[in-house]
Structure formats: C-alpha cells, structure tokens
Amino acid sequence: MRLDLILRVATKLILPYMLLFALYVQFHGDYGAGGGFQAGVIAGAAIILYALVFGLAAARRIVPAALVETMMPLGVFIYAAVGVAGWLTGGDYLEYNHLARDPVHGQEWGVFLVELGVFVTVSATMVAIFYAFAGRGRAR
C-alpha cells in the first residue's frame, strides 16, 4: 500500500470535486440534467473510490455501516412522509400544491424534498452494496 502515492494524492484532489458535483447535480437537477438518483450514485461512487484507495476500514470510519443502513430506509421514509404531508395539508397523497403558501412554491418544496429522499436512499444503497461485497472479500 506504500507504492500508490499517486493514487492517494489524486484521490484526495478529486474527492471534494466529486462530492461537490454530486451536490450540483442534486440541487441543479431542476434546471439541468440530473436529480436525486444520479447525485446519489455520484456521491456513492465518491465514497467507494475512497474505500478502494484508502481501504475499507478508513471508509468505514468516515461512513459507518450503521449510518448507511439507517440512511437506506430514511430516504424512503422522507419520500413517503412528503406524500403524507401533502395529505395532511389538504391535498392528495404526494400532491405538493399545499405544502407552501402558493402552489408553485409548494411544488418546488415537494420536488426538493422528494429528490432529497431519493438521494439519501440511492447513495446509501450503493455504499451498502459495495461494503457487503468488499467485506466479504476481506473475510476470505
């Protein structure tokens, strides 16, 4: 693991931009290509890259498996809760029009929260699947 200095430095240089690009794809999805799913995959790929270069133990210290396994259902919960919130505020399930003072504003809030839920679930699932594979490799 001492000979991969270039990989380590390059990874450290690239990682912040990968995470930044994930956030850009997440929050700019309303205007350009992308959305919660793509952003989640990119963020998950950033964590996986870190785990590949610096080892699984280092990645697990930053993103513990317990956190990942909590985030997976949390994203689905956020999504479903937005639907219930639409219900409680006087609309149908997953209707965002009543979430804020006017329908357009409510739609933006609804889409934003829903994409956040997708992001949380997708990124956590990608990392969890990788942890499961890589952890198995170490066990042999």
Binding site: A33, Y79, V114
Partner: protein, 168 residues
C-alpha cells in the same frame, strides 16, 4: 463500436478484461443516449453502468477466479434460450410505435407537460418535474425498488454472526 465491444465481451475469456469492456460498453451507450437528447439517462448510464457496475464486477471477480470456466453443457440449450428471448424481444419491439412518427403518444402528450411544467411547478427541466411531481408515485416505487434491492443484497452477503441458524 457497440457491436465490436459486445462481440469482444462474448469472445474474451479473461473476466477482468470483460469487466473493463463492460465499462467501455456503458460509456458508449451513454454517448448514444446523449446523441438521442437524453442527458439525464446518459448521466445515469455513465455513473451506474460504467462507474459502480464496473467496481462491483471487479469486486466480485476478487472473490472468484479471473478466467471463465469451460461450459459444462452443450451449445444447444443456451442457443434455444437466447433465440427464444430474442424472438420475444423482437415481438415486443414490433408492438411499439414507429421511431419518429409524429402520431406517437409522446408527441401527443409531451407538449402538454412542456407547457405546464414552468407555470405549475417552476421547474425548467421537464424530466425532473415529470419524475418528481407528475409521476411522483412511480418515482416512489423506484425508490422502494432500490431500497429493496439493497436490503436483499445485504441479507444475502452480510456475514451472519458465528452462531448458525436462527434468524441469521
């Protein structure tokens, strides 16, 4: 190039090379999708197919041998299965509307979404507004599918505690 890559994936017996070729295939596919004016799908294909997919295939290779095993049975059964699947797919394709026909459903309903997206949701990217707002139930279902897939992989692969049996 897609065809060449596909033939190479089938012919090459070193699985590591196949993993890399699969990544190349995904990038080429992303380019095709970009040419078809679908940047959202192209971004997904590049990130999932070429990025995560290749990593997972290499990770699985780490657990097994890197050379493809000799097939244990003859060529006839796979040929029948592949031929049957191809016939079913061609039959399915024959039912889809012709490519580029102005009478297609997408051209009948698409402009409606394009016109409604900005005044109703304030979101210029129609793909996002259709995904998250007009088709919110479908996207909820997709999120649940991803969640279920992740749970299934964890259930299958996560090391169970030393004591076998019980709930594992």
């Amino acid at each position: 190039m897609l065809a060449v890559t596909t033939v190479a994936i089938v012919r090459v017996r070193n699985l590591f090379a196949v993993a890399v070729l699969t990544g190349i295939y995904s990038f080429l596919m992303a380019t095709v999708l970009l040419v078809l004016d679908a940047p959202d799908v192209a971004l997904t294909e590049a990130a999932v197919g070429a990025g995560i997919g290749t990593v997972l295939i290499v990770g699985a290779l780490y657990l097994t041998k890197t050379d493809e095993a000799r097939p244990v049975h003859g060529i006839l059964l796979p040929l029948v299965v592949a031929g049957g699947t191809a016939a079913a797919l061609l039959f399915g394709v024959s039912e889809t509307p012709p490519f580029g026909d102005p009478a297609n459903p997408v051209h009948a309903q698409g402009p409606d979404y394009v016109a409604r997206s900005v005044p109703e949701t304030g979101i210029p990217n129609v793909v996002s507004s259709v995904l998250a707002s007009y088709r919110g139930f479908d996207t909820l279902g997709e999120t649940v599918v991803i969640f279920t897939a992740g749970i299934a992989v964890l259930m299958l692969l996560k090391r169970s505690p030393p004591k076998r049996g019980g709930k594992g």
